[in-house]
Symmetry: C2
Subunit: 364 residues, 2 copies
């Protein structure tokens, strides 16, 4: 049987640097565990724009569709800030999400024991925190039509459309309930049903899916503004949070920051099962391309490494191998190894991107 | 000359209880400072629905339009959860905002010295925090058309429209720049210009207003998801934040929670100047109607009292009197008086809603 295929899109800024460490771990998996992947690489974001004039070439899109999993680094940078909206680096990422139909974006916000003092929140508020935000990723105001800037009389009007169909809500709700069953069996759904009709539909459909297929899962509903508050007040009240594309964008960044270690957080974006039973899937760190530190060896490769671990778990059913990688990361953190973003309250041993990669490999 | 008029809409839940304490302070202003108001009262929210079948009667709307300032308590409660969208308590509040055209909503997030340990954030992150979120309040996805739940083929679709005109953005930007000039002269504007065209227009117009009329104010732009992160990471980097209706809703609740004392935070919603030069204005606490503690004497009246102080400052040009009220509040906090929501790390003297009102009056 052919090896499963991995498409690597390292992207911009620190993307290629952190991805380099992941490639070494992929190599280790082959050499030491006999787990082989067919790895190919291509361009996305500004890097693709520089070569093709678009942030994602059609040929790359086709490769992504065919791959068993896509690993993405990060996109964007000041160099591309003045580009037209339609060719900005972000559009490459959004095209991947939309055309691969990756509707379920899992964003764990986990506080590593060794880093509990790094948060701006008090230790007892975040220590042991382990929640997942399931963000709808292919619809809502990110993709709704009409959209654009129009002339109306003698002034401009900016328009975007929040739009959710019943089936779009149902499928992401289902994925949140499935995830909850593997965790603490608790889902909180967030919207603004008090002011938005799309929020009313969201709430109703999530409740219907629950009542029909997941009555065993504890379900609650919360307005998104209160959700932001509660995340800051006492995040451990949550297990799985499910919300729409835009609220998910803001709330997951808020949740990520609670852990105090953005450079540590992975994400998985999953779609429907392919012919081989694997879901369409893209894995990427939650952090951005951090152009200010690109090329300085300061980037933390752990979020990208943990994204690969998520790929092992969700795409290749290699949960044990995923755990092995995660444990290795925990060990190097407990050993006090710290990339620049983690130089904080507890001193620790400063290491570069590559040295962190070395250490994770050694711990494996 | 006639006394300025105040319309009190106490609303639901703890609204009437906290407003009762404000009325005593209004009385004190007349008796001790010779500052008299013509006070009238009416119904809003569920209280109005119970009597009129709508959350805001037309006659009440007319009174609000004519008043020099409106003081609002809070709206909503579980009793009204099953009501049709169009008559929910919230619609009363939204109608006031829209028809009075209260486009600029000032939400200070201030950390009181005596309460710096109440936050879930570390003391040094929040101590001395004093920022204001200026939220656009009359447009965006809250009011944009088309909106509703429609049938499409055999499924339902929920639609809302994010819509901003140039002039809507310009006027709220202007109010943020004006406010910044009275503070630390620094504005950060937040949107999602990387994914929404309405965000691009927002960014462009804020920049244009700045370059034309407020070049002396320091202006920066930030994506709203990053804004949520930065608020949690290091909120003191901000002075004035300006953002749209929906982001403002979520981000201001996040900012409010940073201070750890939601029961303390006031807000002002301001519109264009009336014939007498005063702006159309509505003042209300940031907290909600807290139906779970209504009637128990546990409510904290301070947010509502400080909202009245904002009215003194912004509607009646009585900045000194406003400061007097604010200082009285600071004193009772420093003295250790604590309503139930403030019973926290430092012990303190437990007091009821009325006892807190007594203490503020005594401190005046
Ligand atoms: C880069 C940007 C388009 C993206 C988004 O808004 O979804 C990012 O913020 C994210 O959360 O993945
Ligand atoms: C009660 C509700 C309609 C309101 C809003 O969403 O604006 C509230 O959350 C607020 O922030 O004032």
């Amino acid at each position: 049987m052919a090896n499963p295929s991995l498409l690597i899109l390292a992207g911009d800024g620190i993307g290629p640097e952190v991805m380099a460490e992941v490639k070494r771990i992929i190599g280790w998996m082959g050499a030491k565990r006999g787990i082989h992947f067919d790895v190919s690489e291509d361009l996305v974001g500004g890097a693709a724009y520089d070569v093709h004039g678009v942030p994602l070439a059609d040929a790359t899109m086709a490769k992504a569709q065919a791959a068993d999993a896509v690993l993405l680094g990060a996109v964007g940078g000041p160099k591309y800030d003045k580009l037209d909206f339609s060719v900005k680096p972000e559009r490459g990422l959004l095209r991947l999400r939309k055309e691969m139909d990756l509707f379920s974006n899992l964003r764990p916000a986990q506080c590593f024991d060794a880093l509990a003092d790094f948060s701006s929140l008090k230790r007892d508020v975040v220590a042991g925190l382990d929640i997942v935000i399931v963000r709808e990723l292919t619809s809502g105001v990110y993709f709704g039509e009409p959209r654009g800037i129009f002339k109306e009389g003698n002034e401009r009007v900016g328009i975007n459309t929040q739009r959710y169909t019943e089936s779009e809500i149902a499928r992401v709700a289902k994925s949140a309930f499935e995830l909850a069953r593997k965790r603490s069996n608790k889902v909180c759904s967030m919207e603004k049903a008090n002011v938005m009709e799309s929020g009313i539909l969201w709430r109703d459909v999530v409740q219907e899916v629950h009542d029909r297929d997941y009555p065993d899962v504890e379900l609650s509903h919360m307005y998104a503004d209160n959700g932001a508050m509660q995340l800051v007040r006492w995040p451990k009240q949550f297990d799985v949070i499910v919300t729409d594309n835009l609220f998910g964008d803001v709330l997951s960044d808020c949740a990520a920051m609670l852990t105090g270690s953005l450079g540590m957080l992975p994400s998985a974006s999953l779609g429907a099962p392919m012919a081989n039973g694997r879901p369409k899937a893209l894995y990427e760190p939650v952090h951005g391309s951090a152009p200010d530190i690109a090329g300085t060896g300061k980037a933390n490769p752990i979020a990208c490494i943990l994204s690969f671990a998520m790929a092992l778990r969700y795409s290749f059913d290699l949960g044990d191998e995923a755990t092995r990688v995660e444990k290795a990361v925990e060990k190097v953190l407990a050993d006090g190894l710290r990339t620049a973003d983690l130089m904080g309250p507890d001193g620790g041993t400063p290491v570069s991107t590559t040295q962190m990669g070395d250490a994770v490999l050694a711990a494996l």
